[in-house]
Symmetry: C3
Subunit: 237 residues, 3 copies
């Protein structure tokens, strides 16, 4: 590891104070790395990326105001063109943050997981390993996504039943259990739990918990049938 200083040339990244770089890190053009960020060996940081952005909270945000830790990228992470990753996030080995995506403070992305182009991972989200989050998904603050989950493009999660009117209540994000699949453009109401190996059809509006190993669809989503043994993840990897 080495410690790098300020800017030198537009072809080089702009590195803040105390940035740590592992062996063989590659940078695209016009990259900004804020102070204290730690980038593991073999990471690939593409054009126009911003790493380690300090949070700037609005007056009514319920996110923590404590100064977050530094951003930590384990070995072999790649961060795509135009993506923004905040201070306090932690990306596991080999994780991929897609182009133009967005990952906020205190979120965790497990080893080998992929966050798609334009996807938003809000603050305090926990994503397990081998998770595949597709294009333009919105994972609201305090969501939990367990290992091997698949989330389709444009799925939306929410965490505030009152839409900002009961500021004292706790926000409840989505809870996506191991190996569940959430379809494209599905909408999950606050605090919904999707069970293990469950399947939420594209375009569903999920207002209640989804039992493990069931297929739900519709507005509001209802159970249509069980997931067959042949469809379990263990048969497809």
């Amino acid at each position: 590891m080495s410690v790098a200083g300020g800017p030198v040339d537009p072809a080089l990244p702009r590195l803040g104070e105390g940035v740590q770089l592992g062996e063989g890190v590659t940078f695209g053009a016009y990259v900004v790395v804020h102070a204290g960020t730690s980038i593991g060996a073999g990471c690939a940081i593409e054009d126009h990326v911003t790493l380690g952005k300090p949070p700037r909270l609005s007056a009514h945000s319920q996110a923590s105001r404590a100064k977050p830790d530094a951003l930590l990228l384990d070995a072999g992470v790649s961060v795509g063109t135009g993506a923004v990753v905040f201070a306090g996030a932690k990306l596991g080995a080999g994780a991929i943050v897609g182009d133009q995506a967005y990952v906020r403070e205190r979120s965790r992305i497990g080893a080998g997981s992929v966050v798609g182009r334009g996807t938003v991972v809000d603050n305090d989200v926990t994503i397990g390993e081998r998770v595949r989050v597709q294009t333009d998904v919105y994972l609201t603050a305090r969501s939990i996504v367990e290992d091997d989950v698949f989330v389709g493009p444009r799925a939306v999660t929410t965490n505030d039943q009152t839409m900002a009117r009961h500021a004292g209540e706790e926000l409840r994000g989505a809870l996506l259990r191991r190996a569940c699949r959430v379809g494209a453009a599905a909408v999950l109401l606050p605090g919904v739990e999707v069970g293990e190996e469950a399947f939420v059809a594209a375009g569903s509006v999920v207002t209640r918990d989804v039992p493990a190993r069931t297929l739900v669809m519709g507005t509001p989503a209802r159970v249509v049938r069980a997931i067959a043994d042949a469809e379990l993840l263990e048969n497809w990897r």
Copy 2:
């Protein structure tokens, strides 16, 4: 106020002709400020921001072809990483434009309002004060959003009933009355008015006007009940 000239160093913003800067403005890296933009005291402009972009209209756009005025940022505005704000927009004191968001020509954002990450404010939109627009909302051209409105993540508004087939007709954006709340991923058909203190549930498709102080949900959205006195905004701020 001072008037600044051309580029100097990659660490400094690229300032066009006649840019006006108030006291204590801060800039991130790789910022572009187009000619004539006026930035008030204490504004914070983050990495990779583009301010004062001149519109480039397609041949069939119905937006005005008159040259817009300069972009005007009142004191204490912040513009997040990677955001794009056009010439002709006006941002009120203390307004926040989120990261990767987008605000077009002749739109107005009132004092103290927040436009979330990735949200699109199309041309000729008027947003009042203390409005909270969450992540990835789409506010179509000519929409009006009154004071104290809350718009949930991924809500979508529309303004063209014919989808470009009746070019002579006037486009009609959404009209969101004071203190209404529009849920996540709700879809509003062209010209819909959401009444004062009304509540549109997440995932609804709103095809008709929503009466004041009612809760609507479903596809198409229907009135479910009235909003209780205890839920009015005056009790929650």
Copy 3:
């Protein structure tokens, strides 16, 4: 045409090896053009654009791993602020790629077509001529969009019925026939065909093929009526 070399000044674009530039190309600030990209006469490349990005595929991506051809922009193309266009894409004469939009490898955008702000054109998508794709649309891999189609804001297409569980099966994108119109936030299930001059209402979830010249709406979308002769495209251009 001329061949340009490496970076010179932050005010100039960073041009990779063998980039071809036609007459009168204009560049905004902080532009990156990767090796081999060919930019036709009169193209306008705005601030913070990335052109010719090489694909970086995840381990489980089904996109081709063959090295794509160079990115090719015909004369008069414009690429908006912050947009990313990959190597191997081809943009026809006068096409417009909106601000913050995203176009992947081996996709084709026909002459005079417009791809809106923030829209994603995934790999191997074919878009015809005079197509209008609005803001924040998601066109999944292997979709086909014929001439004169209109796609409303936030429409979503999908291509994988099993959500990654049957990796051997072929992905089937959307097929949008000539002059059809797809409404805002509509969701199209994998492999759906929307017929010529058909109209999909905003917020619909389309689970089956849509017959030509019909209007469909709802969840799941059903045929409501035929499209009248007076509504055919030939009467509106």
